[in-house]
């Protein structure tokens, strides 16, 4: 447990030192909120976006670079278990996303005077599921694409359309019908729904179940496909 905590803490510190992660997970959502004049209706989507940027935008390239530069191989000669090694990456990403999200929610309420979320516990649960889900997808990308540049690129290519079509960056209402239909099949869509429901306080279990299902499927696929070197 001490080893796991030390590793997760080190990874979180590294994320905080990375200007790109810091910008996209903290400053960028705040900028969007300001552009939206503090409209709290957009915030649940932004929370999903923060998670997606970390889990799919950053994580695949990070893991691929650790593999390519033999960081994973070096760690594999220490007593830490490989599962915990990947688990520490996940915890760091989730914690960073949680910090960025908490800041965004606080600013929305404190600066723009929005109503607090209807169900904070459910909102936190939805965010955790959403964050773990996108990280699981990130693991699958890092498992399938072997080199660093490729994994980063594919991560971005998957993440960007997804945040636009799932309702995370812009409301799905404004999308043309055909694009909206694509969104129905994207894993981030139920995450945006779950976060929106929790924000408004109308608890719905179904989107959460879908997220849990995607987590199980993606983790299984990632575990089967992942290569350490």
């Amino acid at each position: 447990m001490r080893a796991f905590t030390a590793l997760a803490a080190a990874e979180l510190r590294l994320l905080a030192r990375d200007p790109a992660s810091l910008f996209f997970m903290v400053a960028f959502p705040l900028m969007l909120l300001v552009l939206k004049r503090g409209d709290s209706g957009a915030v649940p989507g932004y929370l999903a976006m923060i998670a997606a940027i970390g889990g799919m935008g950053a994580l695949p390239g990070l893991l691929a670079s650790y593999r390519e530069r033999k960081v994973l191989k070096r760690l594999a000669t220490t007593p830490i278990s490989p599962v915990l090694l990947l688990g520490a990456q996940l915890v760091a990403q989730v914690a960073a996303g949680l910090a960025g999200s908490a800041l965004l929610v606080v600013v929305t309420i404190a600066v723009f005077g929005a109503q607090p979320p209807g169900n904070v516990v459910l909102l936190a649960a939805a965010f955790l599921l959403c964050s773990v889900m996108v990280c699981a997808l990130g693991f699958v990308i890092a498992a399938v694409v072997r080199n660093t540049r490729g994994a980063s690129l594919i991560g971005m290519l998957v993440m960007f359309p997804m945040i636009f079509l799932s309702g995370a960056a812009v409301p799905r209402k404004v999308l043309p019908g055909s694009l909206r239909q694509i969104g129905d099949f994207l894993p981030l869509t139920p995450a945006v729904e779950a976060l929106g429901d929790a924000w408004s306080g109308t608890a719905a279990v179904f989107p959460l179940l879908i997220l849990a299902g995607i987590i199980v499927a993606a983790t299984a696929a990632g575990a089967a496909l992942f290569r350490w070197e």
Binding site: R2, A6, A10, Y66, K70, V71, R74, T77, P79
Partner: protein, 237 residues
């Protein structure tokens, strides 16, 4: 007492035979050298020793355990420095030592390891900003932070300047004096000669000869380990 026993180890990657029946033993407290060409099977042998790979045939025992089955338990007692492995670019020297210390049940005090290897002045420097020699020194220190009984060092002094090399030799001497078993993989013959009690010469996946430098030199009727190596490697061809 034998700390490492490798018996008829074989490993192929597809059609390429990397290790073709390697046998050697390393005694407790010994500094044991493995020399050989690139492609002679050194790295594969080392990776089987530390449990990163499983041989196709033969047995490997390190401290009485099978590394392929008991990698994590063994890792508690093993220190490893791998050829060209690295760390996250933004991780600082002190953080790396503290982190690796936390991965072991009975680690050495990472601050003392940092002082001993002259890394204190670099404590707040990021891995990505270190010179080649500084990186090598850090990776060596990380191999020792778990306070291991057996240390496996692959290409110990590659990238070090002559002064740093001598300093590293001195520290390996200290390890030896403290009773640590050291396996040194190298193609620097002066290093093997200076540090190792016994040497295994690997050629094309096999052990061409094992013995002290003196024995190998006498057996081949040559004047140095390097010449003995060339004679053995040629004889094997």
């Amino acid at each position: 007492m034998e700390v490492i026993e490798v018996t008829d180890l074989r490993k192929s990657y597809g059609d390429t035979v990397a290790v073709d029946g390697v046998t050697f033993t390393v005694r407790a407290g010994e500094t044991f050298g493995i020399v050989g060409h690139n492609g002679a099977g050194k790295t594969t042998t080392v990776e089987c020793l530390i449990g990163l790979r499983r041989g196709d045939a033969g047995t490997v025992r390190v401290l009485g355990e099978d590394p392929a089955r008991r990698r994590r338990a063994l890792a508690q007692r093993l220190g490893v420095q791998l050829q060209d492995s690295s760390l996250p670019e933004r991780l600082k020297v002190a953080e790396a030592l503290r982190l690796f210390g936390a991965l072991y049940r009975d680690a050495a005090d990472w601050r003392r390891v940092m002082d001993r290897w002259g890394l204190r002045p670099l404590a707040r420097k990021a891995f990505g900003d270190l010179s080649g020699g500084q990186r090598q020194r850090l990776m060596l220190a990380l191999a020792l932070v778990g306070d291991p009984e057996v240390v496996v060092l692959d290409e110990l002094t590659t990238g070090l300047d002559p002064i740093a090399r001598r300093e590293t030799w001195r520290l390996i001497g200290e390890l030896k004096a403290a009773g640590t078993t050291v396996v040194l993989v190298s193609h620097y013959f002066d290093e093997i000669e200076a540090l190792c009690d016994r040497v295994a010469v690997l050629a094309r996946g096999r052990v061409a000869a094992t013995g002290t430098t003196g024995e190998l030199v006498a057996r081949t009727g040559t004047a140095s380990l390097e010449e003995a190596y060339l004679a053995l490697e040629g004889a094997d061809r």
